[in-house]
């Protein structure tokens, strides 16, 4: 039984706890022994992307230590973006060989949820049932920087009853970009509006994504404008009908 | 040929080397590349497949392709000139096509480097320019014109229409093969490559207004490739 340490991510821990819960339940359903290293905090991406690399190093060291102590085979998180940051720590320690080595070992164990299910567990049909019409938002960091393109679609294809509709401009960023969305809200809102228009145009009732940050951004705009599109994380969808009573 | 002047070079190169953290180094560096994908493109294509690619791509870039044997070249050109309706024609000599003399009612002149002003004036007012390609690429339906003594860089450029005669023997898969030949002419310091090379792929065009394709901006509006199979 693979030992998995959950990397919950801040957004799913606090704003979208159902995502973290679904991740745990789904991994357990797939036969993993899931632990929760309670000392984990944030991956540090907001500081890193804003140029505060000294600060990010402190956070990175804390996260590496925390997950080392967890002594798991794998570290799995429900966010391509946060996982990318965790896998990228070695960049911060170019001049610090000891920490660089630890960062690389940490990176090698860290996986995004759908990538872990498809590539490591080698499962494409998790046994989920979810009769709905949905479309999928491909997150930039997950698709381009982690290179996970196929896994989410392969998993969703096997969900019983789920009809996936294509999304125009699926490659376009939703406009979140972390601090970008509050530093340049004028531009960010143009980007999310184009995304919202594509979603409405797709005919889907549900928007599925694999990154809570993008979903918070798109969902926040949909809600503000009163569009009745439900926003769900892929962990929640894959956990539908799987949830043991 | 008198060598040209070189000004301010020493300090300029020093600044660069300094930034790179070393002294100026003028020993030729070894070029060791890990990748060389260009040799694989169209590598196993047969002659017929290359021709087929050339024809297909030419059509896509708005270029007419006419094929003939050398015995029919005069007649092919005459018909093409009639079709294009050109009144004034200028063409270049080429050792490979000695017997060529198209019979046409249009005014016909040869580019003559010994009469520069006259030749330039003829090129400016010509409706059709006729050239003979030094190489052709299947992948991109490109023809190559070397600037050489006695040849013209402009009769494939100034007239409204350009007809390029292509001996089939000069067709290669892509630019890779010609680039290799050109480099071989210079790599020992001989500087034997032509003083100018034009790689031409179809008519002049622009997409500067609303990304709409305008065919024929400064250069030829129509281009025809006459592919001669036995040359």
């Amino acid at each position: 039984m693979p030992k998995v340490a959950l990397f919950v991510t801040c957004l799913s821990d606090t704003l979208f706890p159902s995502v973290g819960q679904a991740t745990v339940e789904l991994l357990e359903h797939l036969g993993c022994d899931v632990s929760f290293p309670f000392e984990q905090t944030c991956c540090g991406q907001p500081a890193y992307n804003s140029g505060y690399h000294e600060e990010t190093k402190k956070i990175a060291k804390h996260m590496i230590e925390t997950f080392e102590k967890a002594d798991a085979d794998y570290i799995v998180g429900p966010s391509g973006s946060c996982v990318m940051m965790m896998r990228d720590y070695a960049h911060l320690f170019k001049d610090d060989p000891a920490w660089k080595t630890r960062a690389e070992a940490h990176a090698a164990k860290t996986f995004e949820l759908t990538q872990f299910i498809v590539d490591v567990l080698e499962v494409k049909d998790v046994g989920a049932k979810f009769p709905a019409k949905a479309t999928y938002h491909a997150s930039c960091h997950m698709t381009r920087l982690l290179g996970i393109e196929a896994a989410p679609g392969q998993l969703l294809k096997h969900v019983d009853g789920l009809t996936m509709l294509p999304l125009d401009g699926v490659h376009n960023c939703c406009g979140f970009g972390g601090t970008f969305s509050v530093k340049m809200p004028d531009v960010s809102v143009q980007m999310v509006d184009e995304k919202v228009a594509s979603i409405l145009n797709s005919g889907a009732d549900i928007l599925i994504g694999a990154d809570a940050s993008c979903l918070m951004n798109i969902g926040g705009r949909l809600h503000k404008q009163g569009h009745p599109i439900k926003v769900m994380h892929i962990a929640e969808v894959l956990n539908e009908g799987v949830k043991q009573a | 040929m008198n060598p040209g002047t070189i000004t301010n070079r020493e300090d300029f190169l020093k600044r660069i080397a300094n930034q790179l953290g070393r002294d100026v180094d003028l020993t030729p560096p070894k070029r060791v590349y890990k990748h060389r994908p260009q040799d694989d493109v169209l590598k196993d294509a047969s002659d017929e497949e290359l021709l087929e690619t050339f024809r297909m791509v030419a059509t896509r870039i708005h270029t007419d392709v006419i094929e003939c044997e050398s015995t029919h070249l005069d007649e092919t050109l005459r018909l093409l000139i009639e079709q294009y309706g050109g009144q004034a024609i200028i063409a270049e000599h080429d050792a490979r096509i000695k017997s060529w003399a198209p019979k046409t009612s249009a005014s016909f002149d040869w580019w003559d480097a010994t009469r520069p002003d006259e030749s330039r004036a003829l090129a400016v007012k010509a409706d059709i320019g006729i050239t003979i390609a030094d190489a052709a690429f299947a992948e991109s339906a490109t023809i190559v014109q070397y600037a050489k003594p006695g040849k013209s860089r402009t009769i494939s450029l100034l007239p409204h229409d350009h007809i390029a005669i292509i001996p089939k023997s000069v067709l290669v898969p892509r630019m890779t093969q010609t680039a290799k030949q050109l480099s071989a002419l210079d790599q020992d310091g001989d500087l034997a490559s032509p003083h100018g090379v034009n790689f031409i792929s179809g008519p002049s065009n622009s997409a500067d207004i609303e990304m709409n394709l305008i065919v024929g901006v400064h250069g030829p509006v129509r281009v025809a490739y006459v592919l001669v199979h036995d040359l």
């Binding site: 804003s50 | 622009s206 990304m211």
Partner: protein, 467 residues
């Protein structure tokens, strides 16, 4: 460097966002160019191997830039051309003015060149009393209108056919707004300039060191006109724009054409080496190559060196979602989009361009599209790091917030406390579980779920205890 509009970046962005025609033109151009570029990449076969090869070529040249510039200048000189190395725009312009004066030239035609925009050559030549005509269709439109370029490949992308029609009509045109008819007018008018010009000026896509040649990539044929007809030709190149031989030239030209416009090769790839040969009529009798540094050497040997790999294809601009909505003028630099956001602060300092590195959601589309594998979004983060850690120019409030964030996020106790606090701190702004106000930069346009009173870790702990 080039254009620097007077208004603040925020105002320039707003001008872009409020310009519906520009946005329609840019988004449809982006969508179209994306499609043709992906097709062209797919068709080539092993695109990633071509990217790897292009990257290694560019890196090799930069590592040996002194040698290749030496070799290029030697060979151009042997082929009868003059080479002038210019550290600054002023030096370059002064030399070019001297050449023009020595020829007693009054009419100059130019082929499109970003580096001459960068050094402000046209203004310098006007001071010399010359008429300078831009012969690229897009550039000519802008010149007639006194408008700066908004895209490095399609400079007039922000104008529609009606705007062009208006500009041409003011110049004596009597036809319709049909693009082909407009194009024919430009052909007739500019043909006169080509034939009249005493001096032609070009940029340089890639110089070829081993052959002493300059290479131009064009579609319209103006590059050929400018280098074939005038007796004197001057080419201006950024010092990094060269390749060792025709073999590397071929690879990069292919990548440039496919990445920029999705063509296998553009209509004209033109190389010319020094002066025309004996027995030739066409081509320059006198040739000058001006090699411009303009702060590029300062980038060499730094963490930003890879930006000098750029081949100016604009594919990063064509996929950038920020450029898509604000357009090229908003950047206030002749280099816009991601490449502009990286390059402008390096060429012209953080004082004027320190906001540009933040004009990115770091979506990575630029890095993915780049044919020479410049890690553009990483360089944007590196700019931010320099601004924060070296220039110490980040806003005070942000600095405090980030320090606090780091302290909290490296302490499980504080982090836990912050998580517990969040639902209470936000409750005054909350309606039915959604925060609707209170964080104007966010809540003016988007709602936000209220932080949950039970975090996942609470749930997990409870669940563990229950089991």
């Amino acid at each position: 460097m080039g254009i620097r509009l007077d208004e603040k970046f925020q105002t320039r962005r707003k001008d872009g966002i409020d310009n519906p025609f520009m946005r329609e033109a840019v988004s449809s151009a982006q969508d179209r160019l994306r499609g043709v570029r992906l097709y062209a990449a797919e068709e080539l076969g092993d695109w990633e191997a071509f990217r790897d090869h292009s990257e290694e070529i560019r890196q090799h040249v930069l590592e040996h830039l002194d040698y290749y510039l030496y070799q290029l200048s030697e060979n151009i000189s042997k082929r009868g051309g003059h080479v002038f190395f210019a550290e600054t725009p002023e030096e370059a312009n002064r030399y070019i003015r001297e050449v023009v004066r020595s020829k007693d030239a009054k009419h100059i035609v130019k082929a499109k060149s970003m580096v001459t925009e960068e050094i402000g050559l046209n203004e310098a030549l006007k001071e010399e009393g010359c008429t300078v005509v831009e012969s690229d269709l897009g550039e000519w439109i802008l010149q007639l209108d006194n408008d700066p370029p908004s895209h490095i490949i399609a400079p007039a992308l922000h104008k529609d056919r009606n705007a062009v029609h208006k500009t041409f009509t003011a110049n004596g045109y009597e036809g319709t707004n049909d693009p082909t008819e407009l194009g024919r007018y430009a052909r007739r008018e500019l043909r006169k300039d080509f034939l009249k010009a005493e001096v032609g000026i070009t940029g340089c896509n890639f110089a070829i060191a081993e052959s002493g040649a300059v290479g131009l990539v064009t579609n319209e044929g103006n590059g050929r006109m400018v280098t074939s007809l005038p007796d004197t030709v001057i080419s201006v190149m950024g010092m990094e724009r060269l390749v060792p031989s025709y073999e590397e030239f071929e690879v990069l030209v292919n990548m440039l054409c496919r990445s920029a416009v999705g063509q296998r090769l553009t209509s004209y790839i033109t190389t010319f080496a020094g002066t025309r040969a004996v027995g030739e009529i066409d081509g320059p009798e006198e040739f000058h190559l001006v090699i411009v540094d303009n702060k590029r050497s300062g980038i060499l040997g730094t963490q930003f060196q890879s930006v000098l790999q750029c081949i100016r294809c604009a594919s990063c601009i064509n996929v950038c979602p920020v450029y898509r909505h604000i357009g090229g003028h908003a950047y206030g630099s002749i280099y816009s989009g991601p490449i502009g956001a990286v390059l402008a602060p390096l060429l012209d300092g953080y004082e004027n361009y320190k906001e540009l590195p933040y004009a990115s959601s770091l979506c990575g589309a630029c890095t993915e599209a780049c044919p020479v594998k410049i890690p553009l979004h990483e360089l944007l983060i590196e700019h931010r790091r320099v601004i924060v850690e070296e220039k110490k120019q980040s806003p005070f409030v942000e600095r405090i917030a980030m320090k606090g964030f780091a302290v909290t996020s490296s302490s499980p106790l504080l982090f836990g406390a912050a998580e517990q606090m969040a639902p209470f701190a936000t409750s005054p702004f909350t309606n039915a579980g959604q925060i609707e106000k209170g964080l104007p930069a966010w809540t003016d346009s988007k709602d936000l779920p209220q932080p949950s009173k039970q975090t996942v870790r609470d749930w997990f702990k409870k669940r563990g205890n229950a089991e």
